[in-house]
């Protein structure tokens, strides 16, 4: 069992921050009734993952992984790992697409429901469903 010493806590700072940010985002997605806030939470949740990846690419003492133009490469030089950054560039693009699609859906939802509060939307949907059951529902065994 690892001991929770100070150096353990400080040394894993990126993981603590990642966990905090990720759980904050997830909490907002689950708890908030406003659809835009849900998207904000989703964004925080995704950003936490970007942070996890990018902190993972850091090599102690490493510099930016770019070769000089004259290709005079210092054999002693330590480079950070660029792959996580590249992956996250892709993930960021996916994140932008998700966010803009989510917001576009919210715009459409607002046009149809005239609200972006989940509770009100659910109320409207429940009313609609009740109306439909009254109109189309088959009564099973009960009074017609």
């Amino acid at each position: 069992m690892t001991e929770f010493t100070l150096s353990f806590i400080v040394g894993h700072m990126n993981y603590w921050l990642f966990t905090l940010l990720m759980m904050t985002g997830l909490y907002i997605v689950v708890d908030k009734g406003n659809l835009v806030k849900k998207i904000v939470g989703l964004n925080m949740f995704q950003t936490a993952v970007f942070m996890l990846y990018i902190s993972m690419g850091k090599v102690t003492g490493g510099t930016a992984p770019i070769f000089p133009t004259d290709m005079n490469i210092d054999p002693e030089a330590v480079y950070s790992n660029p792959l996580p950054h590249v992956l996250i560039l892709t993930a960021i693009v996916v994140g932008i697409a998700t966010t803009s699609l989510g917001l576009a859906l919210i715009v459409r939802i607002r046009e149809e429901y005239h609200t972006i509060e989940e509770a009100l939307i659910q109320k409207i949907e429940l009313e609609k469903a009740t109306r439909e059951i009254r109109e189309f529902g088959e009564t099973m065994g009960g009074p017609e």
């Binding site: 770019i66 803009s100 917001l103 576009a104 715009v107 005239h114």
Partner: protein, 146 residues
């Protein structure tokens, strides 16, 4: 924004520089930080800024909606087309060596240039298209009611 003279003048000056900077980032992407994603977003900023300060109608005279949609598709096709060209010449999909068979490292330069051009076009167009899609929607409630 009819009355904001300073904003209008500054924007007119800035738009050109933003575009130049976008092209700089675009074409230096193959051997320094930069590339199509970043350049595309910067390029889109120029259009979006112009649209915000002047009007959507005015920016759409320069970059109409139908053109934006075509550009989105065109960029993807340039990217994929590079890959298809290398396939047709007997290399693996997106193997840039195909672009200069006797000098593969030149091929890498050509390849990344073409691919980044495709990415840049698509990213610019997508960003502008997102902007148009949100701004072009008539508001259900007027600004005073917020």
């Amino acid at each position: 924004m009819r009355h904001h003279l300073i904003l209008r003048v500054v924007t007119k000056l800035l738009v050109g520089m933003i575009m130049l900077f976008a092209l700089y980032v675009q074409f230096h992407g193959d051997y320094s930080p930069g590339g199509g994603f970043q350049a595309g977003v910067i390029m889109a900023v120029a259009f979006i800024l112009y649209g915000l300060v002047f009007s959507v109608g005015q920016v759409q005279q320069v970059l109409p909606v139908w053109l934006v949609h075509k550009l989105v598709a065109l960029g993807v096709l340039i990217y994929a087309g590079t890959g298809v060209y290398s396939m047709l010449t007997g290399y693996a999909f997106l193997d840039y060596a195909a672009l200069s068979p006797h000098h593969p490292s030149h091929g890498q330069h050509w390849g990344i240039l073409l691919v980044e051009a495709g990415v840049g076009i698509t990213v610019t167009a997508v960003m502008v298209a997102i902007h148009y899609a949100f701004v072009g929607r008539a508001p259900l409630i007027s600004d005073e009611e917020w």
